[in-house]
Symmetry: C2
Subunit: 460 residues, 2 copies
């Protein structure tokens, strides 16, 4: 377990920039271990991790292996996940055991789940037995559930205790636990009865019964609660920590604000990542090949989709040849449909993920989207008509163009808003709707509508 408040102190505040990194790289090349240690020893673990995250894998491992066990433990939890996995693969399992022994149970669980099975077993057999039992429990939960991010390190007293007893408990654990915000109050069966803020221990006399000053009816979650829901709850109710209990209200662990800050960021990053069409998260240390592999899948999906468009347009070849001007407007038609659809689907995904709308309201929301798209469609198509009348030709074609643009904007918007709802209904992450898949689909349907209108009204 970590000692004291080391993570709120910085002895040196250092500017981490490419100059510093270059210096360190040179020192690594010269194997100047003591000089490197001179630079990093006094840094905050999060800063050391940031430096390591920016190094090449071998250099990163070299620096990591220089760290003392305690610092190594504080640093390893802050490293980028892929880099961490690569470093752990190369390190002696005794050293890993020592490092894991330093960690709080939630962090220890994260590291263990990244290790090869035989190494993980070795570590579990050799760390503090109490921690080992707890970590084995924690390993059962899904990584993105409350159980997966909770820690079983919390301070508690029995509901028969006094304030004085609680103070004694805090004193007893003060070295072991870095930050204590609340003392949980359990009954003899480990059932959560309430909690007491440290402030209450200071304000009340030692003789006061803990049950008379504790807050009851706490907001709790169960271990299978999705981490995004935990984050939403903690954010909504401004909670610094939330207890995790089983169905019988037996206390299992607690999740704190710093875990949640990470979750909020992670979930936002995940949405953006899907949105950008990346199959995995990209990290600073990733190689060109890995980045390429992360980005290619969606490009391939797009390629296949757009090949359908080639087939579609080929089948309308006669129309295109007869009205050559029609092709000039492909980009415009696609972009307007695409943008309207993206706007609608992103807004819907955001509403769904913040719990801001419920399925029952879905039809109401879709109705609103329809009206918005009608309004925007009329403005855009109308404007296009006027511009065309003034600048380009005055043929019947521009009327059909504007009418089909209106239909496309309405269609793309309603589809863009519906797909996230449909995905949610079938328990798929609605954010998928914002990826290249739907954009491509909208391209195809948009052009289909456009070409069909032209063919029906102008050819024949």
């Amino acid at each position: 377990m970590n000692e004291n408040n080391s993570n709120t102190k910085v002895k040196d505040v250092i500017q981490i920039d490419s100059e510093l990194l270059n210096n360190i790289s040179v020192l690594i090349e010269n194997q100047a271990s003591s000089s490197i240690l001179n630079i990093i020893t006094d840094l905050h673990p999060a800063d050391i991790a940031e430096i390591i995250n920016h190094l090449k894998v071998d250099d990163a491992r070299f620096v990591f292996e220089l760290l003392e066990t305690e610092t190594a433990g504080e640093v390893i939890v802050e490293l980028d996940e892929n880099l961490r996995e690569k470093i752990l693969k190369e390190i002696d399992k005794e050293k890993i055991t020592d490092i894991v022994d330093e960690l709080e149970t939630d962090d220890a669980t994260d590291i263990l789940s990244d290790l090869p099975e035989n190494v993980a077993e070795h570590v579990l057999d050799n760390i503090d037995i109490e921690d080992s039992v707890e970590v084995k429990e924690l390993l059962k939960y899904r990584e993105d559930s409350a159980g997966g991010i909770m820690s079983s390190d919390y301070v508690y007293v029995l509901d028969t205790a006094s304030v004085g007893k609680a103070i004694e408990t805090v004193r007893f654990h003060s070295e072991e636990y870095e930050d204590i915000y609340y003392i949980y109050v359990l009954n003899n069966d480990d059932v959560l009865r309430g909690r007491v803020a440290l402030k209450s221990l200071i304000v009340n006399t030692p003789e006061t019964r803990i049950s008379s000053v504790m807050e009851e009816d706490l907001i709790v979650v169960t271990p299978d609660t999705d981490q995004e829901e935990v984050a939403n709850l903690m954010k909504k109710y401004d909670l610094i920590s939330i207890p995790v209990v089983d169905d019988n209200k037996k206390m299992l662990g607690r999740i704190t604000f710093d875990d949640i800050a990470d979750v909020i960021q992670e979930e936002a990053d995940e949405d953006i990542q899907i949105f950008a069409g990346l199959s995995e998260e990209q990290e600073s240390s990733d190689s060109v090949f890995r980045i390429s592999r992360i980005r290619l899948p969606w490009l391939l999906v797009g390629l296949v989709g757009e090949l359908l468009n080639v087939v579609l347009l080929k089948s309308f070849g006669a129309t295109i040849e007869q009205i050559a001007t029609s092709a000039y407007f492909f980009p415009l038609v696609m972009a307007m449909g695409g943008s309207s659809g993206t706007q609608a689907s992103i807004v819907m995904v955001k509403s769904l993920s913040s719990g801001n709308i419920w399925m029952k309201q879905a039809f109401e929301r879709l109705g609103k989207e329809f009206l918005v798209s009608l309004l925007n469609g009329i403005v855009i198509s109308g404007l296009l008509l006027v511009i065309n009348l003034l600048l380009f030709d005055k043929s019947y074609f521009i009327v059909i163009l504007s009418v089909s643009l209106l239909c496309i904007i309405v269609f793309a918007t309603v589809v863009g808003a519906s797909i996230p709802l449909a995905l949610k209904r079938f328990n798929v992450d609605p954010a998928v709707a914002t990826g290249p898949f739907v954009t491509t689909m909208n391209d195809i349907f948009g052009l289909f509508i456009y070409m069909t209108f032209l063919t029906i009204f102008l050819i024949s």
Copy 2:
């Protein structure tokens, strides 16, 4: 100021859904105030706010006006901003004064900055004089700076005090301040010397000098620090609160974890919003007209951009007419360029906003992007060439198509990665690069490259 721990207690946990909302709407229609109060009185203020956020403006105001002053204060800080502004416009200024008097200084500042000037002045003249002075100070800072989100409500002792004196101070303020995590230690000139966790007060004897148990060298920010930077610092170092000091280290206020959770979400939402091409954030209570107004600006930017595309393609009319097949591939060419550019720009925006890269590394990063795009471009273009050979024709055209696609992917990726860097250099939010503006630009340049290649190599 808020009393006690009301915001960590829920007496009723209620499912807020469309059924509940319908019931409340019916009760509002019948002006059944006491029934409405029966439903909502025991709810958490955040839940009451969620209900009100989902009502129409007039209904929302009706429910809000039913609340007691204290609850109203807790609810108003949780309301969506536009709705809050609308409600405040209609409420008596005496009532607003009473509500603001209940709030902590940072929340009071938020509300006041939304009020018309004359109402704000009235409120400032009539709330607690000490708060009024502090709020006037806070109103000077930019809303998205550390000064704009900090609160001047913090507990401190002088550096000459003992632990016993600090305990006495906590007792004195325990009713006034909801949550106390740290006691700040100041010297006679209000200069921040350190801080003490509540745990230390419990662990050490009352006679201990506070200066011997305080943590020094704290991580601090100045009031003009951008809120995103504050969030990054607090997230990186897992801080529950961060002091805000002036250039002489004089303590001005503090920012807590719950403010930061909002900032992280806000900044992520802002990126997504720009990305989606929305000019402002969309809220549940927004009308069709407001939503349309939020979405139209970017559609218009897109329209203008794509009209340039029409002109461009028109100028290549001869080429298109001669190689009719070329038009079938417009969507494919645009989509591949667009996707590659989007991937690169989003990854770059994310790296820049998390402080993960520095300007000096920029060229290195761009080099990497170039190699990635070359690799992906070769895969995609190569694949297209093979598919075309197998399925479509075998003309010289498909070679030129693949070569120009390769160039377009490289071009779009490098441009997509460069623009966020350039924007950052000129202090513009890099996220703007992910909006429709750049996508449109990429469309134009992509098609320009494609048509130019075709014209040079196939026509003449």
